[in-house]
């Protein structure tokens, strides 16, 4: 192992989606947990091949939307009918039909903000550093190649076996993945 860098895992590179799907299914079948695929665009069927669970985002988004609608209705009721009632010709103070547009807008606003927060958290954004950069793999997977990464944190991980598994299951090129030691640079 070279000076100043640590083994982070093993990466297998594929040239086409068919072999990526084969490799992903094989890794999943072997029982790995700390692993991932990296692709330049979303590949149909890869979620199933990797055995990923459905994203919780829709439920969170819906809940946030109803929260937004509730906040909007409460706010308009309290401000217009309780705290600052404006009496005009005996018209009802809690005139809910007039409040519908803002209830709708805040439903959408809260859902959208919740969705973005979910993306930030669940997609693990805001972490600029990655071993894929250090091992020169990132520029491939954001362009035209597909990678399967087995990380050394996995309890099954052993460099030789992991590399052999990837090579056997259809990756055209298998490399060790290194991580630079912290040097203060962002990416």
């Amino acid at each position: 192992m070279a000076e100043g860098r640590n083994l982070a895992g093993v990466v297998g590179l594929c040239d086409d989606v068919e072999s990526l799907l084969r490799a992903a299914s094989a890794v999943r079948a072997a029982g790995y947990r700390e692993w991932d695929c990296h692709t330049p665009y979303p590949v149909h069927g890869l979620d199933r091949a990797m055995g990923l669970k459905a994203s919780p985002i829709p439920a969170i988004c819906l809940a946030a939307g109803f929260a937004g609608a509730g906040v909007a209705l409460l706010m308009q009721w309290w401000m217009s009918a309780v705290d600052y009632p404006v009496r005009i010709g005996g018209k009802p103070l809690y005139s809910w039909p007039a409040f519908v547009p803002i209830v709708f807008e805040l439903f959408v606003l809260f859902s959208a903000l919740a969705t973005v927060c979910c993306v930030l958290v669940l997609c693990r954004l805001g972490r600029w550093h990655s071993p894929l950069h250090d091992s020169d793999v990132m520029r491939l997977v954001t362009s035209d190649r597909f990678a399967v990464v087995l990380r050394q944190e996995d309890r099954l991980f052993a460099e030789q076996e992991a590399a052999a598994l990837l090579a056997r299951s259809g990756c055209r090129e298998v490399r060790p993945l290194y991580e630079r030691e912290e040097d203060g640079s962002l990416i």
Partner: protein
Amino acid sequence: MTPESAVVAVSSLEAGPLVLGEVDFRKLEDDINRPLESFPTRRWWIAISCTGLLAALFVYAFLHTVFTGIGAWGNNNPVGWAWDITNFVFWIGIGHAGTLISAILFLLRQRWRTAIARFAEAMTVFAVICALQFPLVHTGRPWLAYWLLPLPNANGIWVNFRSPLLWDVFAVSTYGTVSFLFWYTGLLPDLATVRDRARHGLRRTIYGILSLGWQGSNRAWSHYEKAYLLFAGLSTPLVLSVHSVVSFDFATSVIPGWHATIFPPYFVAGAIFSGFAMVATLIVIMRKFFRLEHVVTEDHLDVMNRIIIATSLMVGYAYATEVFIAWYSGAAYERYVFVNRAFGHYAWAYWTMVACNVVIPQVLWIRKVRRTVLLLYPVVILVNVGMWFERFVIVVTSLHRDYLPSSWDVFSPTWVDVSLFVGSIGVFLTLMLLFARFLPAVSLAETKAILPGSQPRARQGARPGGDGHG
């Protein structure tokens, strides 16, 4: 009718290739990234100098208004709303095509949208920015704009939630926020690609930060895809609500010519009509100068022009309905407004509107016109003009003859009105030029995903919303 069959005419593109020629991922990336990675051409500098000057004119006219007061405009009593609100509605409408393309066509599984979606979304964001300037400056004291929000204050009073003007504050600010988030979320994977193509360290760092550390991980894609679908689902009713709420500003008042139940659908159709005309206006230039004719093909122009003619017919139908209802209602003031629109002081504006929005777009029935840049270009430009006049006709002709003949007056714009409007076009185009120079104007990830061979054979053409994108 199912959504699929409703757009069957449009989806004829599905039969042909979406990207022309022999294109692999690398070639596509090189083509789309060329404007970002090469020094700007002389044409770009000339263009941005012109639009920058206009933007400076906008800033000058804005400051002049703030320091002088809105008496610097031609507005008077009874024409209290004039070019300011006309421009506001015009720009908001322009933005609507962007959301339609990115959200509604995504839900309808129109894969051709990929080539123009990013560009149209950027247009939405910038158009909303332009639109917001007009109500802001119309307040006269823009630094007090936060008074529009329900914030606790020493007077113990609250904003009026029964006013459509306040609904507008919520609708437009939500629309601006959601459009920006949708656009930026869509940009993340492409910013990562630009980061990884960067040769210079600083460039790599800047795009790296902007990409938020996107790694193309499939665990991330899986959430991202769902989020994108949800954004499309949220934006679709949002875009319909925004122009409906804008139309309520007029429709809930008692001014003849404004007080009409047809306004919400009429405004939404008009917004899509004007927005597509603006997309076509700009994308024709972009594909030419950035040599992207194989990505944004004649088929794309054809489909956009079909939408333009469909919405033109809707708008024409709304004009006819308005006139019919004015006659049929028997209301004297309502009848007078429409006679006055067609034959009064502003008749030239009314007939400009009818000619540009209803008559001239009919040439788009001819296939050759839809597909030939030089023929379609004058048409879409005139649609932009016509839609501005539509808003002018609605706002000004109704106000300048109100119920009391003694208060009748005529509006004519001052140089400040003209500078603000022309300047806002400059602001918009400057932002578009900067966008085209610094960000990928066509979605790389989405376009890669529709290239032949990019998806597993068994699932080629699977549902975009399911677990694949585009």
